[in-house]
């Protein structure tokens, strides 16, 4: 089955194009089923691969490459044709990601059948979803980092399309643009990292890069630069500090999209990318530490912001950011398997929570938790599902999140206790804000009667995916942890000669229960503050700590910084254009033209007044001379004029010629002339 693994991204792509171009928009169009079928096929393939790998039937990693295009390159000063390959590379982490992506995508598509019913662009929605699935799967299976990057961008593009899906309202297009630009900002770092990799290694193929690093050809400083560049890209896509500002706004998209793209899969791409390039981080302690600290900071900041939000989807969005921070921090603390394990379990329970939130929003038509309450009896399945998801994310023993979070905390404790403290606090905050969400939404008293009366349980296409995800959120941790299936399948094969950094301490066994106790305390606190029908106590705390709440609600002013940057770039643009139109064009180019024009005027003046006037003056002189002459002779006799002319001519000739030799001739001539003159003058009129 592995030799046809390249079909896994191609089939959803084909489905997407067919859906987009193949039929007219119609609410009863069968096209969505095409997308579901395509993803379903991919899901079966992925499960088969995963199962094969877990049982050891398939030997991973598997790779296959084809020639894509050729271009000229230089190596050691000699130009040659470089054949850029495109190919697949399936290792343990790719096998896991395949299952995660196809499973969530499949369930979300089923869920959307009901959620998006009646939307005027129902068909197009499915085309976009299939396109997203295709690019995400391409990102997972590619063996070529350039192709990975291409799919990475396409994933961002589909996210842009889907966030802005309801584009008639003003907010979604803005949120879509913000998401695209913010992630693009991070991608610039990734782009430069790719160039540096190609410059160093002369290839984008992951096995070759790994070989290059393993042989110790890559200096640590270069690895640090590359690692930080990759981290930039990952921070954009996986919403890490300080680029996470786009994710809460991305909630403007349809909720199933948030579940798929902005919770389970796309935002995990950054984590996956860091894992894919882990061997580069492995030789750069600086890059590794940066990953860990960025992750920890993100985890804490996002958790604190989730505590104050009233929008059910935004709470979940901040929670996603926070959990991604956990994963990042795990990766940075040499917890390769732990980070990816949490990625897997998180995909299940966060998708579940988002779909539950979608179910609630579908029922009450608002995102504001202050207008909900007491929905547990009206929507029992959703309530139960949310509860399972919350148990999982809070790390209640036995549920999936408990296993993965425990693994991370242990790993981080051994790496750096300071990071452990940050993550432990974040874990308690997680439990607090998640139970706050459950209490506000489902318990207490109804706060908006209209909405409460309107509420109802969702139809089966929406609840069936909930059941599947519920099972996974509850048991996947236990299943994958059992016999250490996951760590065996997904692990980082250490590079020869490079050991993990020195471990600070060994994690004591009671650590888990210590943290769990605090988690339960946080849940109790949430119950005290939000479990009742009014939140008087919570409100009073909020009033007393207004500055803190304000800071959190303003998201640490990161949005304002972002806006200021946008304003700054706008100003830079206007300045550039002013320089262009006023200085370069008007002053230099037009100025040059005017200078030339002035010069031309000057020439004209000179020409007109001096040259031409002197010509005219010459003419005038001759005219006046002639006039004078005529005035002197003024008889009108042509012959007489001729005589004068001849006389003057001969005199002139005489004057110019040497005198002696022509004396005789001249006197004779003069004599003849005189006779002639007399003859002429005496002639009667």
């Amino acid at each position: 089955m592995l030799q046809h693994v390249y079909l896994i991204p191609l089939i959803p792509l084909a489905a997407s194009l067919l859906i987009l171009l193949g039929a007219k928009e119609d609410p009863r169009s069968p096209m969505p089923f095409l997308g579901i079928a395509a993803t379903g096929w991919c899901l079966l393939q992925s499960i088969a691969i995963f199962y094969g790998a877990a049982t050891g039937e398939l030997s991973l990693p598997y790779g296959a490459d084809w020639n894509w295009f050729s271009f000229g390159a230089t190596a050691g000063g000699k130009p040659f044709l470089y054949d850029m390959p495109v190919g697949v590379l399936i290792d343990g982490s790719a096998a896991v990601m395949l299952v995660v992506v196809t499973l969530v995508s499949f369930l979300v598509q089923v869920y959307s059948l009901s959620y998006m019913r009646g939307d005027p662009r129902f068909k197009r929605y499915y085309a976009y979803l299939s396109f997203f699935t295709a690019s995400m799967l391409g990102l997972v299976v590619s063996s070529n980092l350039l192709v990975t990057f291409s799919c990475w961008e396409l994933v961002g593009f589909s996210s842009y399309l889907l966030i802005g899906f309801w584009f008639e309202r003003p907010e979604p297009p803005y949120a879509a643009k913000k998401a695209f630009i913010t992630t693009k900002l991070g991608d610039l770092g990734l782009y430069l990292a790719l160039m540096l990799i190609f410059c160093q290694v002369g290839s984008f193929q992951i096995p070759q890069i790994r070989e290059f690093v393993a042989r110790g050809f890559m200096p640590a400083a270069v690895a640090t630069a590359i690692g930080l560049g990759i981290l930039c890209g990952a921070a954009g896509k996986s919403a890490q500090f300080p680029l996470f500002i786009w994710l809460p706004d991305a909630m403007e998209g349809p909720t199933p999209v948030s579940a798929l793209i902005h919770a389970a899969t796309m935002v995990a791409a950054g984590i996956y990318l860091v894992a894919k390039c882990y061997f580069i981080f492995a030789i750069s302690p600086v890059a590794m530490e940066t990953v860990a600290w960025i992750g920890a900071i993100t985890a804490l900041l996002a958790a604190t912001m989730a505590v104050v939000s009233y929008d059910i989807k935004r709470v979940l969005a901040f929670s996603t950011v926070s959990q991604l921070g956990f994963m990042m921090c795990a990766l940075g603390s040499w917890g390769f398997s732990a980070g990816l394990f949490h990625l897997t379990t998180h995909a299940a329970f966060k998708a579940l929570l988002f779909l539950c939130a979608g179910s609630v929003i579908h029922a009450v038509h608002t995102n504001d938790m202050r207008q909900m309450g007491n929905l547990d009896k009206k929507m029992p399945i959703t309530f139960f599902a949310t509860l399972v998801g919350t148990f999982a994310i809070a790390g209640i023993p036995g549920f999936s999140g408990f296993f993965s979070k425990d693994m991370i905390l242990e790993r981080v404790f051994e790496h750096d206790p300071r990071l452990f403290v940050i993550l432990a606090i974040s874990a308690c905050l997680t439990a607090f804000y998640m139970f706050r969400l459950v209490f506000m939404t489902f318990l207490g008293q109804e706060r908006d009667l209209d909405r409460y009366l309107h509420a109802h349980e969702s139809p089966w296409p929406m609840t069936v995916p909930l059941f599947v995800l519920m099972a996974l959120a509850a048991f996947s941790g236990w299943l994958l942890d059992r016999g250490e299936i996951f760590t065996r399948l997904v692990n980082f094969q250490a590079l020869p000669g490079i050991a993990p950094a020195h471990e600070a301490a060994h994690a004591p066994a009671y650590l888990t229960w210590y943290v769990t106790a605090f988690v339960f305390f946080a849940i109790y606190l949430a119950f005290r503050l939000y479990g009742g029908s009014n939140f008087r106590e919570a409100e009073s705390i909020k009033r007393r700590c207004a500055p803190v709440f304000n800071l959190l609600e303003r998201r640490y002013y990161l949005d304002d910084i972002f806006l200021a940057l946008v304003g700054l770039s706008d100003r830079a643009a206007r300045l550039a254009f002013w320089i262009d139109s006023e200085v370069v064009d008007r002053f230099f180019v037009d100025g040059w033209g005017l200078l030339m024009l002035a010069l031309a005027r000057l020439c004209h003046l000179f020409d007109d007044n001096l040259i031409d006037r002197s010509v005219d003056a010459t003419g005038g002189l001759s005219v006046s001379l002639g006039g004078t002459l005529r005035w002197i002779v003024r008889r009108g006799l042509v012959q007489e004029y001729l005589l004068w002319s001849a006389a003057v001519m001969s005199v002139l000739t005489l004057l110019t010629l040497p005198a002696q030799r022509y004396c005789l001739g001249a006197s004779v001539g003069l004599g003849l002339l005189a006779i002639l003159t007399l003859l002429l003058v005496r002639r009667p009129r």
Partner: protein
Amino acid sequence: MNILSLITFLPLAGALLVLGLPKESKRAVQIVALLSSGLTLVLSVGLYFLFDRHTSSMQFVERLPWIPSIGVQYFLGVDGLSYPLVLLTALMSFVSLVASLNIVNRVKEYFFWFLILEVGMLGVFVSLDLVLFYVFWEITLVPMYFLIGIWGGPKKEYAAIKFFLYTLTGSVFMLLGILAVYFKSDPHTFDLLVLLQAHPDWSARFQILIFLAFYLGFAVKVPAFPFHTWLPLAHVEAPTAVSVVLAAVLLKMGVYGIMRVSYGMLPLGFQWFLPFLVIIAVINIVYGALCAMAQTDMKKMVAYSSINHMGYCLLGIAGLTVTGFSGAMLQMINHGLITGMLFILVGVIYDRAHTRDINAFGGLAAKVPLYAGLMSLACFASLGLPGLAGFVSELLCFLGAFARWKVYTAISVIGILTTAAFFLRMIEKVFLGPLNPKWDKLTDLDAREVCALLPLVILTILLGIYPKPALDLMNATVLHMASLLK
């Protein structure tokens, strides 16, 4: 078989035929023009199958004495550098002619001048004699002058004269350069292929001086900062189809000149100029993108984005690597396709709404989905989305430059972000959000517009996913060019 002459002068035959037709029979004029240009396109495409991809030498060479007393020849030929551009010229001219079918004013003259323009553009890319090259180079100016000056916008006369004078100033310096190399060469010759071998005898000082002369001529066409300000003006005032060929083909003449003449003939001058060239490239990229961001006129925005994209070409060239050269060559083709598409699309909305102000629209995606889809496609192609043509060539340009200029390349990636910002803002303001009720009656693309756009759309996607056919045409020549470098 004189296939290159046939390709080059078929539009001229068409132009003469158009001249002979009565002024009133507009339909006949259009048919003749389309036929002659279409035939040129067919022949150029036919050449694709005859073109030998494994040799870097000139193919389909034609050589006749023209002015024997001073050694001027009629000398044509194409290689991997010029043939893709011939193909691009033939395609874009035909597409522009299709897009021009809605011209109603002085139809006969319009198509006459357009065909003459096509002759000039094709001639520049196929001629291998410097005098012939110069003649074709200058021939393009006259039709452009009339096309902008007669069928242009409100400030057409000013734009036309500025365009004409600016480019003429540049080409005068080029003429000086041509004469200088003629008299320097021994025996005196205008033969480009001979001159390409002559540089070992030339001193560095001479090469630098002559490089600058040629550079002035080419830089105005590219256009490279600071000689670019004629471009936004000419674009804004020119009619749609003229903008299309201006951006898609005429700008490429500058880059082609730098790669063909300056680089090969004056390597020492080229290397001396390299640090300046890379700075100019970075300015073109970042500053061009910033200027584009400040625009509210869509056409002017696209015009400034052209400056930004030609900066990528310059950056690739400045890398002085095979990869960078490949990137620059591919970028010329891709930019031609993508910007051609953008200008046609901007023309479409201007024809209907009589405004190009970004702020005047809103929510059009619901009203004109096909138009919105294609415009978004063109914008994303232009901002370098993988899977569309622009990405691969930009990447190759950057890769090529990065090997030599790490810091400058790192600065230029800001241009990518800025490009994304202004195109996305345009999409948001024009197509998304609530529908502006003023445009309730707007109609979607008609058949003529779709016909003009479709080949460009298909090629943009095709070259984005599978750039191999285009790169294979160029590879042998690029490798040969790189071997000149010591």
